[in-house]
């Protein structure tokens, strides 16, 4: 294994770690907004690390450009989707955990 392979392995492992924590957060977090937050960790840092790891695995050819395009599209669309989801929930009248606790205390 060359030095690039080690770097690639570290980056891929990091990507897997963040995707995995995102998935756990999706199940374990208490309310909608924290869950969206956990899911969007998978979309952003997980994807960046995995694609960076894959970039180190390819030889210098067209695949690099394809991977970078995939990264650009994902970084543009995934946060937008999370934003639209959270905003629609807010628009529909869903309160965060802190807010609903406060209204319960009163």
């Amino acid at each position: 294994m060359s030095i690039l392979d080690y770097f690639s392995a570290i980056l891929l492992a990091g990507g897997v770690f963040f995707s995995f924590t995102g998935a756990i957060g999706l199940f374990r977090f208490p309310d909608f907004f924290t869950r969206v937050h956990a899911a969007s960790v998978t979309d952003t840092i997980g994807v960046i690390l995995i694609i960076a790891g894959l970039l180190l695995q390819t030889s210098f050819d067209l695949n690099i450009i394809k991977l970078l395009l995939i990264l650009a599209i994902l970084l543009l669309t995934s946060p937008t989707a999370s934003h639209a989801l959270a905003k629609s929930a807010r628009h529909g009248g869903l309160l965060t955990l802190a807010e609903s606790n406060r209204s319960n205390d009163r």
């Binding site: 599209i73 543009l76 669309t77 937008t80 934003h83 639209a84 905003k87 628009h91």
Partner: protein, 328 residues
């Protein structure tokens, strides 16, 4: 070994998704689970080397089907009512059928074996001779457009017929009287507007790439038509249907859909006029290889046009129903 492991994990995810669909009463969640089911099955298709199929499943099953189903539950209500009749009989029927099918698989040749009968007869000829006879690297496109061109013509006609069926059931989307206003669509979502405006040109560019690069990589008219329709569906969802009608009106779609089928069939007729069989492309140009190339590009264009018009027409018909029920 890795392939088997990936396959097993994905199939397990599919099984869990399917089981969840059975027990959920919230139809919105059911439709979303179906979308996930489609995406995961697209991954399985990639693992089984069917890249063209995976492409189509991801665009059609997960994209268009989900949008149409969501449109339907917007009209029919979101929850399934409690089921009154007993499900024991259903379970028995399903178990007996499943047991019979599994008994049937025992006589099938083992999975993935290169000596299976299916790989012995037609496929070797396609794999060995199609690069010489048709001259395209993508065997799936060669078979789809050239060897089985008549079959594909039939499929295109079925898509066209389904569009006619839906339009006659739901009525054509008439151009709305009210002017297109920014209030329609998701007016409050400024971020969505900006991002949609950035990525829609790229989606259309990608559709054109898939359409004309389908001879060399995965893709072709079916996928390209669906992707182009998805770009306009995104526009209609974010900005409102009346804006999308100004770009491609329902009336234009009613012209595009038959035009694609006619384009496809007329390639076959030109071959007949030149003295060959229906859909024989060899005579279209001076050499057989060039003729095949022209024929495939033109019929893929016809397929793309019909599929684009049909998918967008279906969406317009459904969204028109939803808007009408919102007005009432």
């Amino acid at each position: 070994m890795t392939e088997v492991l990936i396959d097993l994990v994905l199939l397990g995810m599919l099984a869990m998704t399917a089981l969840r669909v059975i027990f959920l009463k919230d139809l919105f969640a059911v439709v979303m689970l179906f979308s996930i089911f489609s995406f995961v099955s697209a991954l399985i298709f990639i693992n089984l080397d069917a890249v063209d199929v995976a492409f189509t499943e991801a665009a059609v099953g997960a994209g268009i089907s989900t949008v149409l189903m969501l449109g339907t539950i917007a009209l029919t209500g979101r929850t399934e009512k409690k089921n009154s009749h007993s499900s024991i009989l259903h379970l028995v029927v399903v178990c007996v059928t499943g047991a019979a099918l599994i008994y049937g698989t025992m006589d099938m040749p083992p999975f993935g074996n290169a000596d299976n009968p299916i790989h012995q007869h037609v496929a070797p000829r396609y794999i060995e001779d199609s690069p010489k006879e048709v001259g395209l690297p993508n065997i799936v496109t060669s078979v789809l457009a050239s060897y089985r061109g008549f079959d594909t013509l039939g499929e295109t006609v079925v898509v066209f017929a389904a569009m006619i069926g839906v339009l006659s059931l739901l009525g054509t989307a008439r151009p709305t009287n009210k002017r297109a206003t920014p209030e329609s669509g998701l007016a409050k979502h400024r971020v969505l507007h900006v991002v949609a405006k950035i990525i829609i040109p790229f989606i259309i560019l990608f559709a054109l790439y898939v359409q004309f690069h389908g001879d060399y990589g995965p893709g072709g008219g079916f996928q390209a038509g669906v992707i182009a329709a998805a770009a306009l569906i995104l526009y209609a969802l974010v900005f409102g249907a009346s804006f999308a009608h100004r770009i491609v009106s329902p009336r234009q779609l009613e012209v595009f859909a038959p035009l694609g089928v006619l384009l496809y069939a007329s390639v076959g007729l030109v071959g007949m006029i030149k003295g060959a069989n229906f859909l024989d492309y060899n005579v279209l140009a001076s050499t057989a290889a060039a003729g095949q190339h022209y024929g495939i590009i033109i019929i893929e264009l016809g397929v793309g046009l019909t599929v684009f018009a049909a998918m967008l027409g279906l969406f317009y018909a459904f969204s028109n129903q939803v808007e009408r029920s919102n007005v009432q």
